[in-house]
Amino acid sequence: MDENLKKRILIIEDDEYLRDLYMEILTAEGFMVDQAVDGEEGYQAVTRGGYDLVLLDIMLPKKDGIAILRDLAQNPPEGKNKVIVVLSNLGQESVIAEAVKLGARGYMIKSEMTPEQTVNEVKRYLAEST
């Protein structure tokens, strides 16, 4: 728990209920969690950088997740983020492949996960990055 307090996570998620859900289950674990409600807000936050983990949705208002990954790959921010993981309900293999090619560490399908599994995956990605 003490270690978790130092970890910063950014959630880019447009669905209010799911945003609340991830906020709730991750802050309950002691993480510092920021949130962005659309692609532009998410891109701004992510370019400021400094996150241990970014949970990125793909279908987003204003700027989609793939475009965010592409822009980040072209102009890497100074305060780098350690890990970006896609958390989306879009399960097309082509989209997954594109996201991974553009630098996403992993890809989670929201509807396939219980809150417990999501938390465990987040912890696993954070452990990998340290």
Binding site: D15, Y17, L18, L21, E24, I25, A28, M59, S88, N89, L90, G91, Q92, K110, S111, E112, T114, P115, E116
Partner: protein, 445 residues
């Protein structure tokens, strides 16, 4: 065609043969009708019989007219049309114009000799115009032959001569008749072909539109499934939180109810996933990632995944295999999906105390995987529909035991067949079922 009437000289035979060749080498209607008149003109010129213009006119029954279709590209023909006030395709004769010898020949199915062009060009032309053109063309007489397609007359051929019809020999008349017979054959075939071509073109267009629609459908299903999954994820996740006492203690009755909400949401998500898979398969957008697949290992993984359910339902799970099994050529994710589906079905239909076993064997250069259960089995009348979309078993007692969507077996069949394998089952109601699928061995290619 009656060959016995053809003048038996090498030249005329050669001429006939050449014209027949056109029929076999050309199938497009427009081309055939032009080639017919041109080649007949060339052949007749070669025979030095004094023919100036050859015209083909066909009947359009729907419009009740006879239309000029093609005219030989001979100098006389070009000069005549150049001087005329009407274009060639404007020369349309109503079938009611009984005085016109083209129409008479068509109706009587007999050749007609034309001394004066007013008899073939009015209507639509005036008598003066018809005669003026005849003078320009240098044609003395014309002869009109009916083009017969079996018993049916489909039009006429007009042969215009620089000589008097009385100078035509019987042989020459027979030759012309033979040409006309071939013409009807050619037109018959070309018409069939052109119809076929236009039908095929229409089919191509329809097919293109269907492909576009299919793409739209695929995009729609993708987006719809995403949109559906988002609220379903919220329902599933918040229900999970309540069930796991994250919002405080709940009563046993609340738990029971919420477990039903949770399971139903899982079923909904599963259904959406399967519909998306089917949309992709049917759109031809699934590509297998074949690898050397150890099916015994995969069976063990699936057994582990089902272990909690096995103890919950009090079922025994086993894996049977004889010796070392060579790897199959399979897409891990797809075959895993098939195994989970088949084992899941066995779990659904097998009562407490029963057994589900997975066997992996080599047979006829294929790896065969069997999933056997001691469940309720499949009624005879339902066995035929089992692999159909939504073709799930229906029966008074059986239906209440079946969850699922009826898409799983259909999907499994599609995936196995994409691998070049087969899937089948044996079942005895009351005793159990065995579903078996086969996959080709991995050869490294």
């Amino acid at each position: 065609m009656d060959v016995t009437n053809i003048p038996q000289t090498p030249d005329t035979l050669a001429a006939l043969w050449k014209i027949q060749k056109i029929i076999f080498n050309t199938l497009d209607f427009e081309q055939v009708v032009q080639k017919i008149v041109d080649s007949i003109a060339i052949e007749l010129d070669f025979l030095k019989l004094g023919y100036r213009i050859i015209v083909l006119a066909l009947v359009d029954e729907k419009e009740g007219v006879m239309k000029r279709i093609s005219m030989s590209q001979t100098p006389a023909a070009e000069a005549t049309m150049g001087a005329g006030k009407m274009t060639f395709d404007q020369i349309v004769i109503p079938l009611t114009a009984e005085n016109n010898l083209c129409i008479r020949s068509y109706k009587d199915k007999e050749p007609k000799v034309v001394l004066d062009w007013k008899d073939i060009l009015t209507p639509p032309m005036t008598e003066e115009e018809a005669r003026r053109l005849q003078t320009i063309s240098g044609v003395k007489n014309s002869i009109v032959f009916p083009v017969l397609d079996g018993e049916l007359c489909i039009g006429v051929m007009i042969f215009s001569l620089e000589k008097d019809v009385s100078e035509m020999s019987e042989d020459e008349k027979n030759l012309i008749q033979s040409f006309t017979d071939i013409v009807s054959l050619a037109i018959h075939d070309a018409n069939l072909y052109s119809n076929l071509k236009s039908t095929s073109k229409k089919l191509d267009e329809a097919n293109k539109k269907l492909k576009e629609l299919d793409k739209l459908k695929d995009e729609f299903v993708s987006l719809a499934s995403h949109e559906l999954r988002t609220p379903m994820t919220a329902v599933k996740s918040y229900t999970w939180l309540v069930l796991n006492n994250k919002s405080g203690e709940i009563t046993p009755k609340t738990r029971e109810h919420l477990e039903k909400v949770y399971n139903s949401t899982e079923r909904l998500i599963h259904l959406v996933n399967e519909m998306l898979d089917i949309s992709r398969i049917e759109g031809g957008r699934v590509q297998l990632k074949l690898e050397a697949l150890d099916l015994v290992q995969l069976a063990r993984e699936v057994k582990d995944e089902f272990a909690p359910r096995a103890s919950e339902q009090n079922l025994v799970m086993e894996i049977e295999t004889d010796g070392k099994i060579s790897p199959a050529a399979g897409d891990r994710d797809k075959i895993h999906q098939v195994l989970v589906n088949l084992v899941g079905n066995s779990f659904k239909f097998t009562q407490s105390g029963g057994r589900v076993s997975i066997s992996v064997r080599l047979k006829d250069n294929m790896v065969e995987v069997g999933i056997e259960d001691t469940g309720i089995g499949i009624a005879k009348e339902d066995q035929e529909r089992i692999f159909q979309k939504f073709g799930r078993v229906e029966g008074s007692l059986v239906i209440s035991k079946i969850g699922g969507t009826g898409l799983g077996l259909y999907l499994s069949k599609q995936y196995i067949e994409m691998h070049g394998g087969k899937i089948w089952f044996e079942s005895e109601p009351g005793k159990g079922s065995t579903f078996t699928f086969s996959l080709p061995l991995y050869t490294g290619n």
